[in-house]
Each structure stands twice: as C-alpha cells, then as structure tokens.
C-alpha cells in the first residue's frame, strides 16, 4: 500500500501518459449542474490532498478567487488565497529564465503549474506555537487562529510555498480543505484541480512534479 509519507517523499514511481477523455473529467468532484442547484459537494475524506493537473489548467484563477471567497472576509487576492496560481503563471516555477520561451508559464510553453497544499506535516512541525493540527474529519492541517502569532515559520518552510501570513490579521493562511468542501475544485471550469486520496494521487503528483522541473 502506498503511504502518504512515501508520496510526500516523492518516492512513488507511476507511469504517466493518460489520455484525458471526457468521461474522466469531473468524476471526482461530481458537481451539480442545473441553474441555482444546491451547492455541489466535493467528497473529502481523511488522508488526501488537492492536486492540479497542469495539462488541464487554463489559468483563469477561479480557484484562487473561490479560496478567497470561502474564508472569513470576502477579500479577493492571490495573497489571501491558499492555492497559488499567480506566482507561476507567467514564467513558470523557476521565474524568468534566459530561455523563458521554453520554460513553463503563459510566456513559455503555456503550461500553468499552480501550487497546492499537500497536507504534509512540515508547517505543523515547525510551528513554535503548536497552532497547526490535524482535522480528523478531513485530514487537513489547520491553523488555530487563537494560537497563531504570525511568526511566518510555516510560510518559510512550506515545501510548496503556499502559506501566506495575512498582512492585516497577521495570521497564517493555509489550505483547510474548506472543512471538507473545497471551493477551488467546485469552481474549476476544466476539472483541473481535484481532491485525491493518497492512493489515487500518486500519478497526479508525479505529473505535477514533472512540470515543476526546469525544461
């Protein structure tokens, strides 16, 4: 059985190369469809994470927006979003390279590689306040605002660089899987971001990591 630890250690080796057919799209999120339908629910179970498929990502940043819309004050910004699209949007994960045309990003080969929280333990481990803990229902590593002092250790050490310290509240902003109903996946217009259990996520994470490399 593939373990979460093995996955996070990038130890899984699964071949990629799937042809994404129409029937596959949306199968994990299963959003409702009709106008004014009830809010669609993404099934989240403990032991999983959100992953973006860079082939399907079309760069609209609706996931960022939905993240901002789903937490406390409705203040939209890539800064307050727990999923980060903007930082890799134009030039890819490695910034502006001399051969930027060959790298990822809108100005490169047009592949967009958003970063998501993998619900690893790093932030939880480095937090000196012990303000980050596991939500048993969702498996998300969540911040207790009452304990967080905004020191930024979690943001500095986050392997995916997806944690931000809110400029106003001085609290850590990290993915909490929307308490089991991740809005980012619900609004994605191509089904590029989905929730995967650890077992299912291996190929997706490997595909994602392929696009994190320099071309």
């Amino acid at each position: 059985m593939i373990t979460r630890r093995a996955l996070l250690a990038n130890g899984a080796k699964v071949a990629v190369g799937t042809v994404y057919g129409g029937t596959l799209v949306g199968f994990l999120t299963g959003c409702g469809s009709s106008d004014d339908a009830e809010t669609p629910i993404v099934e989240v179970i403990p032991g999983g994470l959100m992953v973006v498929n860079p082939i399907l990502c079309v760069g609209c940043r609706r996931c960022e927006i939905a993240c901002s819309w789903s937490h406390e004050k409705s203040a939209v910004s890539p800064s307050t979003s727990r999923i980060k699209v903007a930082k890799n949007l134009n030039f890819g994960p490695h910034g502006v390279q001399p051969n930027y045309q060959d790298q990822r990003g809108e100005q490169g080969d047009s592949t967009i590689v958003p970063s998501t929280c993998r619900q690893c333990d790093v932030c939880m481990t480095v937090c000196p306040q012990e303000a980050i803990s596991v939500n048993e229902e969702t498996g998300a590593r969540v911040v207790n605002d009452d304990l967080c002092v905004g020191c930024g250790y979690c943001a500095d050490k986050c392997p995916q660089q997806v944690i931000t310290i809110d400029k106003t509240t001085r609290k850590s902003l990290k993915c909490d899987l929307c308490e089991g109903s991740p809005n980012c996946a619900q609004v994605c217009p191509t089904g590029a971001i989905k929730f995967y259990t650890w077992e299912d996520a291996i190929a997706e994470v490997e595909l994602h990591e392929k696009y994190l490399e320099l071309v």
Binding site: D35, I65, F91, Q107, P189
Partner: protein, 741 residues
C-alpha cells in the same frame, strides 16, 4: 471615503512624466461614472485641450479598471485604455481594451486607474509595488520587443508582476500600434501615445485585496457565481453547441461553442479529447469554447491547439494557446508557442489574401501573430490588412511605391503564401522611417488610412502625405478589376468608400467593419455610427449569434425592445423603433461593461443554454454583481442609467473634440458600398446585407430620439444631459455654440 464601499480600490494614480510627480487622488470623484471607461472619459472631458494630436504632450492616457475587476466576479478582468487615437480622423478619443490579469493586479495594488500625463525626455517605465510607485529608466528596454520587455521587467520586479508594454511600433510613433499585456492581450491605437511620452511599460505587483462589501456574504457570492454558470454560454454567448451533441436540442454552425466530439487539444503533452460538453457539466465550461478550429480549421487545430486560455476570473477561455514547432524550426523564432484570438490570428491571414486552411495558413497566422504582437502592431480591426490585401490585388503598390522599394519587397513570397513574408512585412510597419530605404509601404500601412484620403475616400499621393506636403497631389488610382464593372466603376477614381472589400464602414472612423449590417441590419449599422473607432460592441452579437433558432431570438428581442427588433440575418425589413431601442440598449450595455470592467464579448446574457428556463438568461446579472461587490443596492435600470451617462459624455466629448455640432452629417455617415453592394439586389431582398440610404436616415431619426439627441445634429440636448447629471457638459457645449437650440 471609498472604504465604505466594496469593489473600488479607492485611489487613482496620476503620473506626470514631464515633472516626474506622481500623486494619488480618490476614486470617489468618479463613482457616478462607475469606473473603467467612465473614469477615462471624465478625465479627458475635465482636462480637454482643443486641437491637440494624440502624440502631443498635452494628451492624457487613462488606464482604468472598474469596481468589478479583481473582485472575482465572472469575466471581470478587462482593462480600459482611453485617450485620443492617432488612427482616427482628428485624433478623436477612443477606448481600447485588453484582458489578461492586469486590471486585477492594479486593484490588488490599491488603484482603480492610472492617468498618464506629460512627456518624459528619456525612456522610462512605471513600477508599481503596492504603495511604492516609481519611474525607472528604460533606456535598455527601448527598442526591445514586447515579449522580452515582459520578461525583463518581470525579472526586475518578480515573476508575479503583471506588465503592460509597447513594442517598437509604439516607440516609432506608428499610429497602428497597441498597448499589450502578458499573454497576447492587446488594446488598439494607443501604443504611439505611450511612445510619444517615452513610457515603455508599466509593471505592477499588488499584494493587497479587492474587498467585497461587508454586507455581502461569501455564500451570496458563490450563489451568484453558480447562477451565472447556469446560464452562461460559450464565447459570444453561444448557448448551443456548434455541432449536434446528444444532450442538445439545437446546434448551430454560427455558435462558438466549438468544444465537442472530434475536438482535441492535440498539442497538449497528453492530448485531451474534449468529447461532449454538456451545458450542465460545470467542469467542462472551460472546454466548451475551444475555438482554435475557427481560425485554423479542425484538422490543423487538432494538431496545434494546446489548450484554451484567457483572462482572470473567466471560465469561458476564448484565447487559443497554440504550439507550432515550425515557428522555431523553419522560421527561426525563439518560441514555438503563441497565444491569441480573433484578429490576432486573422490579421496576418487577411493581409495574405485569406488562403484556405492548411499548413500555410497555420504558419501565416502563428508567425504573423508573433511578429504583430512582438512589435505591438494594431490592425484597427483588420483595416491594416484589408488595405494591404486590396491594394495588392489591385496592383496599387506597384504604382504607389518607388520602383526600388517595390523591387525589394519579396512579392514572390507573398504570392506563394510563404509565412517568411510576415517578418519583413510587420518589421516595415513597426520601424517606419527607421526601416532601411524609403519604406513607403510600412509608413503608409502604419499611419492610419484616414491620413491618406480626402472627403470622398480618394487617395492622395502617399509620398506627399508622408512628406507633409501642404497641397498633396492625388494618387491617380482607378478602379480596374473585372468585378468593378458590375458597379460601373471601371476607369473611375478609386475610393475606399466605394470598395466593399476595404470594409471601411463609417466614413468618419475609417476603421474596419465590426459586427455591423452583416450581423443585425440597421441595428449593427447604427452601432457603427457612434463610437470613433470600430464599436467593439458585442451586446447584439451575444444574442444574435447565440445559435438558438431565429424565432426564439426574435421572440427574446421582441420582449426586450418590441416587435420587429431583430430580422433574419441577410433578410432585412425597414427600420422601426424596436431596432432603434435595440441599438441603444447594445451601446448602453457595452459602455456599462467597459466601465465595470466586464467582458462585452460574453455579457449581456439575455439567453442561456438551459432548456428548463426556456433558454432565457438574465440581463440583470451586472446589477447583481455590482450590488454584491460594492454594497450599493442598484437595479438594472439604475446601473444602465449610470452607463448611459458615460455614453452621453462620450458623445459630448466627440462633439467637443471635433468642434462640430453637425454630427449627423460629419460623423454618423456610412460608406457608399454599404448601400451599393450586391448590385443585382435591393435592400430587403433575401441574401443581401445592403442598406438603404433613406432607411438609414430614418434609422438615425429614431435612434437619436431614443438617445435624446437633437434630430438635426445628433447632439445630446440640454434636457438629456441634465437628465444624466451632465449639466456642466451642456454648459460647456452651449458656451461654444455646440449645443442644439
């Protein structure tokens, strides 16, 4: 203060390039004008200077966002750029727009608009990082192509910067130039304005937020988002698929809902077979447009289309991210990827004579798009390429150009549809007088057609115009094609107003036709009289090209504007008041969108793909968005009235800039071919889009009546201006004898 409202960032930057002084002022001054275009027109009205050219120091340029940009509201990432435009006769004011991610970033940095004034002595770029706004030297960027400019500035600022820039064409004061932002998004006509000011680029990093009104909940935002997703269509609000699909009652080849069986994102690393795209599968909304095949044909598109793209907050994705390896291997470009849509691909194709789909067309469009965008060249909605194509087919260039220059141009490449021609073609336009040799071709094409024609559309001697001769000779060009014989034109002096293939629709604008009589008869024709450039109006297109059966569209149109508002395309009936109301509605919504700033290529959504709603949409969405985001409860009628105020201001400013009260005869005049094409058919016959001269005059009467404009002059009356809180405008026009009695 503005902090009590959501939506608006609250501040406007005023950047004086002469004094290098940068100041902040409140946006609240402009709230009655919504934002975006409204801010632009108000600033240029307030600071109006008589008789200046677009490239004069006194001209201002306003880059503005509306209250919705950055809020997350669907399709709200448009940026409006307002200034005098050198491509337009008298350098009248126009607003151009680009999408992308620029205006949201501007809002995140804390600003609703940037007003650019004055002129720098040396090249500079504007650096905005939240509250820190500085002018930086741009000597090393001057002369650099747009793509490398984006990269250089992003390297200096941080890769997350959003950058807008001009290319070599803007620097060389080429009238047909753009301001462009990352991803191939460009706004036309104002590149030379920034070039004249020596402002190469603007880079922005915003780490702040666009706040939503405190009274609005996250659940309300999501509910509205869900509601819109339930009724939105594909690009141009096509609400039925282009080809039959199992879930769809209707299909229409006119619909831009191209994503369906047989459509593949074939250049993706793992090809994506789009398959059926049911209207209610929200995770295929971003696949339903997939319209590369519109520009390349399906076979080519399935090879080179990598994915759809587009703007911040938009699920529709009208851009085409294309990968053509030959760009590198055969044409020696530094990339094999290009992104664009519509004229970005079509302009090179038009210029080369509209070859049929295949590899040659693909190469022309991808290589051409690269050179157009890297140089920052604007097509004026195809006017540039129509001129190139028609003058080539008529053999005019051989007459116009010096023999040495004509011989130096590789016409064999042109004739062979060889995309290598694109490099020299666009370089000539962009580098203008700095291109080696006489370069009459490039200087002519880049200057704007209006410069080279008299009141009758006849051409002056091109070199005399370029040399600014006081009394230029005429070019002595005549109609000589066989097809001219049908119109009894052979041997007569050539006029662009008589040549239907030149597509100059409005004699005042001298810009390419854009959704006019070919789309909605008199409605489209009247739309094309008001703005100073092509109207860029899709309010009508987003209904009439939705793909539903004509009877359904006509029913919706009748419910909104009265019986007879919409005729079958190419089977037009006489003008009526319903059409006048339809035309006015289109313009009001267009201005509303350019002020909010929202995409008029998608909104308004008066129809939907939902059979359960009998395909009816919701025209009040803009008001719902505005109310939720700003916290100011505003009805559709109230918001439309605010937009109409901006439209009235636009008309008044045109009157002021032209110093001309007779708009009816000096501005709102259509080209002769609009009435004379299809020589063997009459207005109203099935199969022709030709208009009738008397009918259009009746149309202007009716349209002016709807707008509250004086029948004789087409100028807003005092009563109309005061109704829209523009009494100060009436006062100024009256003081200059420009207000109707």
């Amino acid at each position: 203060m503005t902090t009590t409202y959501g939506g608006w960032a609250g501040y406007i930057l005023r950047v004086n390039l002469t004094t290098k002084v940068i100041t902040k002022e409140t946006t609240e001054t402009y709230h009655d004008y919504i934002g975006g275009m409204g801010i632009g027109y108000k600033v240029l009205w307030d600071d109006h200077v008589d008789g200046i050219k677009a490239t004069d120091e006194e001209n201002q340029l306003v880059i503005s966002a509306g209250p919705l940009s950055g809020s997350g509201a669907i399709c709200s990432a448009r940026t409006t750029i307002t200034s005098r435009n050198p491509v337009i006769r008298n350098h009248l004011i126009t607003d151009g727009h680009f999408g992308g991610h620029f205006s949201p970033e501007l809002k995140f940095a804390g600003y609703d608009a940037i007003i650019i004034e004055g002129k720098s002595e040396t090249p500079v770029w504007l650096k905005i990082v939240d509250d820190t706004v500085t002018l930086e030297p741009a000597d090393s960027l001057w002369g650099v192509g747009i793509f490398d400019t984006f990269a250089n500035i992003s390297k200096l600022m941080g890769q997350q910067a959003q950058v807008a820039a001009i290319g070599p064409s803007g620097e060389h004061l080429v009238a047909q130039s753009t301001i462009q932002t990352q991803g191939g998004h460009s706004a036309g006509g104002h590149g030379a304005v920034l070039g004249s000011k020596k402002l190469k680029a603007i880079g922005i990093i915003g780490t702040g937020t666009v706040d939503i009104a405190e009274s609005t909940t996250n659940e309300q935002l999501r509910a509205l988002d869900d509601h819109i997703l339930g009724i939105i269509g594909a690009n141009n609000n096509g609400v039925v698929p282009n080809q039959p699909q199992s879930w769809a009652e209707y299909s229409s080849t006119g619909s831009r809902w191209r994503g369906g069986p047989g459509v593949t994102w074939g250049a993706a690393d793992n090809p994506v077979d789009v398959g059926e795209t049911p209207w209610d599968d929200r995770q295929k909304v971003g696949m339903r447009t997939s319209m590369a095949e519109m520009y390349f044909g399906r076979d080519e598109a399935n090879k080179i289309f990598k994915r759809p793209g587009g703007c911040h907050s938009c699920p529709i994705r009208c851009f085409c991210e294309v990968k053509n390896p030959k760009m590198k291997t055969e044409y020696n470009l530094p990339t094999e990827n290009i992104t664009n849509v519509c004229l970005g691909f079509l302009d090179p194709w038009y210029a080369m004579g509209k070859p049929s789909s295949g590899e040659k067309r693909t190469d022309i469009q991808t290589v051409g798009a690269y050179y157009m965008d890297d140089n920052g060249i604007w097509s004026a909605y195809g006017q540039l390429s129509h001129l190139m194509r028609e003058f080539t087919s008529r053999g005019f260039w051989e007459i116009i150009l010096p023999a040495e220059e004509f011989a130096a141009i590789n016409w064999a490449q042109y004739a062979d549809l060889d995309a290598h021609f694109m490099q020299d073609f666009y370089t000539r336009i962009a580098y203008s007088e700095d291109y080696p040799g006489s370069n009459i071709l490039g200087r002519c094409l880049g200057r704007g057609l209006h410069e080279f024609i008299n009141e009758n559309g006849e051409l002056y001697n091109v070199e005399d115009i370029l040399n600014e001769v006081d009394t230029p000779r005429m070019a002595e060009l005549t109609f000589e094609l066989e097809s001219d014989a049908d119109y009894d034109l052979v041997g007569k002096t050539y006029s662009v107003f008589l040549d239907k293939n030149m597509k100059v629709f409005n004699r005042s604008m001298v810009g390419g036709v854009h959704h006019a009589s070919e789309s909605a008869g008199q409605v489209g024709a009247l739309l094309n009289t008001v703005f100073n450039r092509d109207p860029q109006c899709h309010s009508h297109i987003n209904l009439i090209n939705c793909g539903l059966p004509h009877a359904k569209i006509a029913e919706v149109a009748a419910s909104l504007w009265g019986e007879g508002a919409f005729d079958p395309v190419k089977h037009y009936t006489a003008m009526n008041t319903s059409k006048a109301k339809f035309a006015k509605w289109c313009l009001v919504k267009n201005v509303l969108h350019d002020s909010l700033t929202l995409c008029n290529w998608m909104f308004p959504l008066v129809v939907s793909p939902d059979a359960n709603r009998d395909y009816i949409g919701d025209s009040s969405i803009e008001a719902q968005m505005f109310s939720l985001v700003t916290g100011i409860e505003t009805s559709e009628a109230e918001l439309d009235a605010m937009a109409e105020s901006v439209l009235q201001l636009h008309r008044a400013l045109t009157v002021l800039q032209m110093n001309e009260i007779d708009q009816r005869n000096k501005h709102d005049v259509l080209s002769e071919w609009v009435y004379d094409l299809d020589h063997d058919m009459s207005f109203g016959d099935e199969g022709t889009i030709k208009m009738d001269r008397d009918d259009i005059q009746i149309g202007l009467d009716m349209f002016y009546a709807e707008m509250g404009w004086d029948k004789e002059t087409g100028v807003p009356t005092r009563a109309t201006l005061e109704k829209f809180k523009l009494g100060y405008v009436a006062d100024k026009l009256e003081s200059l004898a420009l207000l109707p009695a």
